[in-house]
């Protein structure tokens, strides 16, 4: 993967820079030796690796400001990092960059049930927000599959989604306010503890900006009162296309289940081995459909969904009877990517999103591509949103297999754009889809976007080499 050229003057002054960082931060917050830097060379997309110049682990906002001022003064690139679970390589370092790890800023600062918000530091994990409020029957809605580990700062930067976003919207729809530090070390406060501020939607601009406009230090999220109850239903089908058609039928009937997830046969077997959820092992494709509300609401909605499913000759249908059963069903789904690690040493996870009416067509064409490339693909995705997650299985110890997987992935994403969809639903562009951005956008559109980045960060020090193809960079920067 092509990276922007490292700044030689920065590389040469490495020792001084590390000493300088130690002067503005506590000793324990700076990592500068090669052995210790190694585990920071990659994130959730381990096919791409690059050793950073140094790593810093600030413990408070003042330390973040100090780091940013120092790096800005010396023209040093900065890579923000949360839990390092990005599947698009969002936290991949550069050789001349300082990685700013936010894991130590993991405090929940304020919870207000009356006005339904929580103020948290960026290093709080997604699930920790829900755990902190669930005794009061509240929850934070967006639930990426990595919610156990991924951190809210990263969720905001990538505008993360999740299974239950079908009903509740993605991160952008559940945010109220942000504090961030610019590359100059200036503190910006955007939004607040209430909906909508007058004027431009700055919150919307920062959300999904992949750490290119500033480093987040505080996030105010909307918390919601939980439903009276929820039930998950499993419906197995004889083929991917039939299951895809069923998804479209459910959505176009006007029903919005709280989650509508798809797994194909490979995924069903891998997840069953991990979660023992009782998934139908004889089905080619499985839909996990969850409804919520009062008992009557659930029963009525499940009946309507069953009627729709019945049209597609399901091989099995089962409604979860207990909370434990539902928990196991979701444990399997949420651990699905990792579970694929049981059947393949490596995978690339795509994130293309398509109109639901295109599901049968795209699933069929992906299978044909899989045969052409000779690489297996497991499908586990947020079907209700048309957000695909084909996991292309390959062997990283075999270079040819990796290159084939990359090419296969690019073809899938081009197909998504071709049928009226887009490159990314929730994982962000990162390094992975950077060079495909020109498939989706014209040069003029990309230049407009680059100008926004330049307005915040004129020297392109913050997480550069991501999101935008490198070829057009100099024109805008």
């Amino acid at each position: 993967m092509l990276q922007s050229k490292p700044k030689l003057n920065v590389l040469e002054k490495r020792a001084e820079i590390i000493a300088g960082l130690k002067a503005v931060l506590p000793e324990r917050a700076v990592i500068g030796d090669d052995v210790s830097l190694k585990p920071y060379e990659t994130d959730g997309l381990s096919a791409y690796r690059q050793m950073p110049l140094a790593v810093v682990l600030p413990e408070n906002e003042a330390q973040v400001v100090a780091v940013m001022k120092f790096c800005h003064l010396h023209g040093i690139r900065v890579i923000p990092r949360g839990a390092g679970t990005s599947l698009s390589g969002g936290a991949l370092p550069l050789a001349d960059a300082v990685v700013v790890g936010m894991m130590r800023m993991n405090q929940i600062l304020d919870i207000n049930y009356a006005d339904r918000y929580a103020v948290v530091q960026p290093g709080v994990t997604n699930i920790a927000i829900t755990q902190a409020v669930q005794d009061e029957q509240f929850f934070y809605a967006p639930d990426p599959s990595s919610q156990l580990a991924c951190m809210i700062g990263g969720n905001v930067s990538m505008n993360s989604g999740g299974a239950h976003c079908l009903k509740y919207g993605v991160t952008a729809n559940n945010l109220l306010g942000l504090r961030l530090v610019t590359i100059e070390g200036e503190l910006l406060e955007i939004g607040g503890k209430h909906m909508d501020t007058a004027g431009y939607d700055w919150l919307g601009l920062i959300t999904g900006s992949e750490g290119q406009l500033g480093v987040l230090t505080e996030v105010t999220v909307r918390i919601l009162r939980g439903p009276e109850g929820a039930r998950a239903m499993l419906a197995g089908f004889a083929s991917n296309e039939v299951a895809g058609a069923c998804v479209d039928a459910i959505i176009s009937s006007g029903i919005i289940p709280v989650a509508l997830e798809f797994m194909d046969k490979l995924a069903i077997h891998a997840c069953e081995a991990f979660a023992h959820a009782g998934y139908p092992l004889d089905a080619e494709a499985l839909l996990i459909i969850e409804v919520e509300g009062s008992d009557t609401e659930q029963t009525e909605m499940l009946a309507r969904i069953r009627d729709i499913c019945a049209v597609y000759n399901p091989v099995s249908m089962r409604v979860s009877q207990t909370a434990e059963e539902s928990a196991a069903i979701w444990k399997g789904r949420k651990g699905a990517f990792g579970a694929v690690g049981r059947i393949s040493p490596d995978y690339l996870c795509m994130d293309g999103t398509i109109p639901t009416s295109q599901l049968p067509n795209v699933l069929k064409r992906m299978q044909a591509m899989s045969d052409d490339y000779g690489l297996k693909v497991a499908n586990i995705f947020h079907a209700g949103d048309g957000n695909l997650h084909p996991l292309i299985m390959f062997d990283a110890n075999d270079v040819e297999s990796f290159h084939k997987a990359e090419a296969f992935g690019a073809d899938i994403l081009k197909l998504c754009v071709e049928v009226g969809g887009c490159l990314t639903g929730e994982h962000g562009v990162g390094i992975e889809k950077r060079d495909l951005m020109s498939v989706q956008f014209t040069p003029a559109e990309l230049d407009q976007q680059r100008r926004i980045k330049t307005a915040f960060d004129p020297d392109w020090l913050l997480n550069p080499s991501k999101v935008f193809p490198l070829s057009g960079l100099s024109a805008a920067a």
Binding site: I31, S36, P39, D43, G123, A336
Partner: protein, 431 residues
């Protein structure tokens, strides 16, 4: 995840195993979230994924362990919470075991560190030496807080003195004893009496034997069996660990077959269940595998046969899940089911997956992290207002003692409700 071992390196069976483990990891990062040291220290290097990466790099380059790698490996509690979380099924336990052996063979620790490790390895596995040491430590206990300085050595000494019991229990020496069943004999088991446990928690073995006898089970403690080897195993002292394993396998394979080998110290149980792997290339491999297959935690064994004989008082028991039970052996519900069957009101703390910081000798070797984990665990347990804290591992019980809630092994509560004595720890609880 990609690995870079040469064909020659892979000919080494140990490296081939490590390579297979590394290839299972997809670097998703789920494990970081439930790792006690990552949660406490907030550094990738103190997470399972970070350690896996450090180990990978160290082994690929076949280089001696460096100070940094040792620091982060030493901080690992071996609680195996990561293995419960891992969706890919990465065998972290055997990878970190391998790394510890590599460290032990290639890294020269500072003198005080070496001495302390030697002393611990020479004392803890031997009940008589342990008692002598504890008697000495008790003399020093009042002066623990007077030790000057904040160096690691001083902190470790202070931690050791703090762990010494205030009152020394009566000596116990169970080696070579047989305890007949009461009434009809329904089964015959061997009991691992534990090493440190005989010195500091003899009431646990007493309650276990009484309870099993009452349930019609004969209990044998062969004279030749001794320490399970966990202590030296976790220090990377491979050969010493194998010696302990061989001695025990021989002791339990001798004579008429046992129905089961019962363990009431779950830290040891995890290692017993691994004897089959540890001795896989040994002449005793088959016997070791059989011993592992027969090793059961006392809660597993009791699940089918336990019957209380009296009505429990209204006591709230906070069940603390020892990591060796919940993660190492994946036993999560049996102890709670038994305590409920005995009639107690059972509660659980928030974040039950997090270690209390005991972890063998961890609370001596890593006093700061261990103290922080202890505080966190005690706070979460006490938030449930229990009358007593129960666990299935003496290490945890020692670690959590000394606050204002008594700690007791769950088997002592079960024995009490089956007609045994009220556990001494509960004397202050008047219900």
């Amino acid at each position: 995840m990609q690995t870079n071992f040469t064909t020659k390196q892979l000919q080494n069976p140990e490296i081939a195993i490590a390579n297979n483990i590394l290839r299972t990891c997809v670097h998703c990062g789920m494990c970081t979230a439930t790792c006690p040291t990552f949660v406490t220290l907030g550094d990738e290097l103190d997470s399972p994924r970070g350690r896996i990466y450090l180990i990978k790099d160290m082994l690929e380059h076949d280089r001696p362990a460096s100070e940094e790698e040792v620091l982060h490996m030493d901080r690992c509690l071996s609680c195996l919470s990561c293995m419960t979380t891992c969706p890919s099924g990465v065998d972290y336990m055997h990878l970190v075991d391998h790394a510890r052996v590599h460290i032990n063979e290639t890294y020269k620790r500072p003198l005080t560190d070496r001495l302390l490790r030697d002393v611990l390895a020479q004392i803890l596995p031997y009940p008589k030496r342990m008692r002598a040491a504890l008697n000495l430590a008790r003399l020093g206990k009042p002066f623990a807080s007077l030790l000057p300085g904040q160096s690691m050595l001083v902190k470790r000494l202070r931690a050791m003195l703090n762990l010494a019991p205030v009152k020394m229990p009566v000596a116990q020496s169970l080696g070579g004893t047989v305890h007949k069943a009461i009434g009809e004999t329904k089964g015959r088991v061997a009991l691992l009496a534990g090493c440190a446990q005989q010195a500091i928690g003899p009431s646990i073995n007493t309650a276990t034997i009484e309870l099993l006898n009452r349930l019609g089970i004969e209990v044998v403690i062969p004279a030749a069996a001794g320490c399970c080897g966990a202590l030296v195993h976790h220090m990377g002292r491979h050969e010493e660990a194998l010696q302990a394993a061989r001695r025990n396998v021989a002791a339990w394979s001798d004579g008429p077959e046992f129905d089961a080998i019962i363990v009431n110290t779950s830290g040891c149980g995890t290692v017993l269940k691994d004897y089959g792997f540890m001795l896989r290339d040994d002449a005793m491999a088959a016997k070791a595998a059989a011993v592992s297959a027969k090793s059961l935690d006392i809660s597993e064994y009791l699940l089918k046969i336990y019957q209380p004989s009296q009505v429990a008082p209204a006591i709230t028991v906070a069940y603390h899940a020892a990591c060796s039970l919940q993660h190492g052996q994946k036993i999560t519900s049996a102890p709670k089911t038994l305590l409920r069957k005995a009639g107690f009101n059972v509660v659980e703390p928030k974040d039950p997956h997090l270690c209390c910081g005991s972890a063998g000798t961890y609370n001596i070797m890593q006093p700061d992290i261990a103290a922080s984990l202890r505080r966190r665990k005690l706070d979460s347990l006490k938030a449930k207002s229990p009358d007593v804290i129960a666990a299935g591992n003496i290490g945890c019980l020692t670690q959590l003692a000394g606050d204002n809630v008594p700690t007791v092994h769950m088997v002592e509560l079960l024995n009490w409700m089956a007609g045994g004595n009220k556990p001494e720890a509960l004397n202050g609880v008047n219900k």
